[in-house]
């Protein structure tokens, strides 16, 4: 990590960045109702970083997140995700980009009809080079890693909020993505569960060497960040390019 830091401080080699945003503008609505949501965003996120994005509601952080992970098409500017330019990308390219990312959503969004194990396997199914037996094993191991080995065959209705979030983490990380994007992962959880969840994410991410980008309001967990990005009114107000931790 130290080596990486010094390399990045001396050179600004954007093709090493996992996520690279240049002059990104985004609008909602048509004609007279057209409203600008993002203003000239410039951002680089480097491999292995834990980056937190925070700011008031309506600041555009969720919009930026959806653009970064290929859920929306960029309208203006450049957005490179793992070296794939998303501006002007077709549907198939967007789909391929999404498969390289692990998502953890605020509302879990686990499939209600599937067990915890099956939910995690759904993520692995997208990669054809993994055999069904291997899928089962990897999913089981991932759930053990998040501490849910007793509950792999439980349905989401039989799991607590914290447990569901852990299944979501397992699902996001089981395919060893290079980037993990999380939207308010601790919002519905109490202090302890929230803390556990975030520690778990950080630990697994470090083990797999992946980058975490997290949108959050939660002040209790800001300390895990390598970097904190603050957004307000669609503008990136503060973005430490240095690796020193800064508390906002």
């Amino acid at each position: 990590m130290q080596t990486l830091t010094s390399v990045n401080q001396t050179q600004n080699i954007t093709n090493q960045a996992v996520i690279s945003v240049r002059n990104l503008n985004h609008y909602f609505g048509q004609g007279s109702l057209k409203k600008q949501a993002l203003f000239d965003i410039n951002l680089d996120i480097y491999p292995g970083e834990v980056v937190l994005m925070t700011g008031p509601s309506g600041s555009g952080k969720t919009t930026l997140l959806t653009l970064i992970c290929g859920l929306r098409s960029p309208q203006e500017g450049s957005l490179k995700l793992l070296n794939q330019e998303l501006f002007g990308a077709n549907q198939e390219q967007l789909i391929q980009a999404r498969r390289k990312i692990g998502y953890i959503f605020q509302a879990h969004n686990l499939l209600k009809s599937l067990t915890a194990l099956q939910n995690v396997q759904m993520s692995l199914q997208l990669h054809s080079n993994i055999s069904p037996t291997e899928r089962y094993e990897r999913a089981t191991q991932m759930l053990e890693a998040v501490g849910l080995e007793e509950r792999i065959h439980y349905y989401p209705t039989g799991l607590s909020g914290g447990q569901k979030q852990r299944v979501a983490i397992a699902r996001a990380l089981v395919s060893h993505p290079r980037v993990v994007l999380a939207d308010e992962p601790t919002a519905a959880l109490d202090s302890k569960s929230g803390r556990d969840v975030v520690n778990l994410m950080q630990k697994l991410a470090k083990e797999q060497g992946c980058t975490i980008l997290m949108v959050t309001h939660d002040n209790r967990i800001l300390d895990i960040a390598d970097r904190i990005i603050y957004m307000e009114d669609g503008v990136l107000v503060s973005n430490d390019t240095g690796k020193s931790k800064s508390n906002h």
């Binding site: 789909i95 499939l111 599937l114």
Partner: protein, 389 residues
């Protein structure tokens, strides 16, 4: 470059359906209902046609000659008996016998009310119909003014039937001529006639003096073993003049069926009824599938965010549609089966389940569910993964 595996290991469609039991049962009930409607419509249509061809199906002939003017069995008109002798001259023909048929007014022995019946007459040495009770009672027909009565006839006949079952003779009148009923057989009422009575050719002409034996209603031709009916029919068509039509037994049945399908609204009514059942099914399944899609929209959006294609989700919905089709078809056909039996007992209509009809309804059910699925997937496009944030 990475391909999504063609065989999905997790049967999401089945799991989604089976986890929500109440929705599944409602869907099955709806499809069963629609299937039952279609089965009843199609069944009744066939039964009605079949009920009008009972005699035709039992006719003791390989080929049937009728006048080209003939419309249906009570309106066969006549052609010269000479044609039968001409047919007999062919090597492959074993026998060519006349059948006389006409409408008569008969007085119900019980109620004394007159009604129209079909009177059939033939030489009593050989039965014109492969009906056991007729074949067994041929001797009786050799007596003057003796008839056999169809116990499937429409009307109030319970006392009459009781007497006849006991072996008694029942007397009544046909067109002011006294006749004696000495036996029973079973065929059935039809659109053409409320009932049938069978007698000998001599008795036929005693009763209907306006008819002459040299003019026959139909010719029943039996072929020697090994002779192909189609080929024989062609040969006869070529040599016999245009005042006679040559039909195989199957064509003879078809001749009657075609008359009723063209001259009544049976075809239209029951096809419409079937279409209504189909539309009911489409609406019910669409309601269920679209509420299913709506309920799972957030989950589908999640899948899209993970990188699943739209086509995957479409396939899931279509799989649900087909699973529902199969699951609903089973109780639907079972209920229809039961209703058929009930109707048979109540009406004497030949309402039977057939394999071809079951397959037809199954295919219609699958199409019905596929259409519903296609409309329900429109909502899928609105599963925008960006909205779940």
């Amino acid at each position: 470059m990475k391909k999504v595996p063609k065989t999905r290991e997790i049967p999401l469609a089945w799991l989604q359906l089976s986890r929500e039991k109440s929705r599944l049962l409602v869907a099955m009930a709806g499809i069963a209902f629609a299937d039952m409607l279609m089965f009843i419509q199609l069944g009744f249509q066939t039964a009605l046609y079949d009920s009008n061809t009972r005699l035709h199906q039992k006719i003791n002939a390989d080929l049937v000659l009728i006048s080209p003017q003939g419309r249906n069995i009570v309106n066969l008109t006549t052609f010269p008996r000479r044609r039968l002798y001409q047919a007999l001259s062919f090597d492959g023909v074993a026998s060519a016998d006349p059948l006389y048929a006409d409408f008569v007014d008969w007085k119900n022995p019980q109620t004394q009310i007159k009604t129209s019946l079909l009177l059939l007459g033939f030489k009593p040495d050989k039965s014109a119909f492969l009906i056991p009770e007729v074949e067994q009672n041929l001797e009786k027909l050799k007596m003057p003014d003796v008839l056999l009565f169809d116990k499937g006839s429409q009307g109030k006949y319970d006392e009459t039937l009781a007497s006849l079952e006991q072996g008694k003779t029942v007397s009544t009148e046909i067109q002011e001529r006294k006749i004696n009923v000495k036996g029973l057989f079973l065929s059935g009422a039809s659109f053409a006639a409320d009932g049938n009575v069978i007698t000998s050719d001599l008795n036929f002409h005693r009763i209907l003096t306006r008819r002459h034996p040299s003019q026959v209603s139909a010719g029943l031709i039996k072929l020697k073993p090994g002779v192909d009916p189609q080929q024989m029919a062609e040969a006869l068509k070529l040599s016999l003049p245009n005042d006679v039509r040559v039909l195989t037994k199957a064509e003879f049945i078809q001749f009657e069926t075609k008359y009723w399908s063209e001259n009544t609204s049976i075809g239209f009514i029951f096809t419409l009824g079937t279409a209504i059942g189909f539309v009911v099914g489409v609406v019910i399944v669409y309601q269920i599938l679209s509420s299913d899609v709506a309920d799972h929209l957030a989950e589908y959006a999640t899948l899209k965010a993970m990188g699943y294609r739209n086509s995957y989700l479409l396939i899931v919905v279509f799989q649900e549609a087909l699973i529902l089709a199969l699951l609903g078809f089973l109780p639907g056909s079972a209920i229809a089966f039961g209703l058929y039996a009930l109707t048979r007992n109540a009406t004497n209509l030949p309402l039977f389940m057939t394999l071809s009809r079951a397959i037809t309804v199954l295919i219609l059910t699958m199409i019905m569910c596929t259409i519903s699925g296609a409309i329900a997937t429109k909502k899928l496009r609105s599963a925008d993964p960006a909205d779940i944030f």
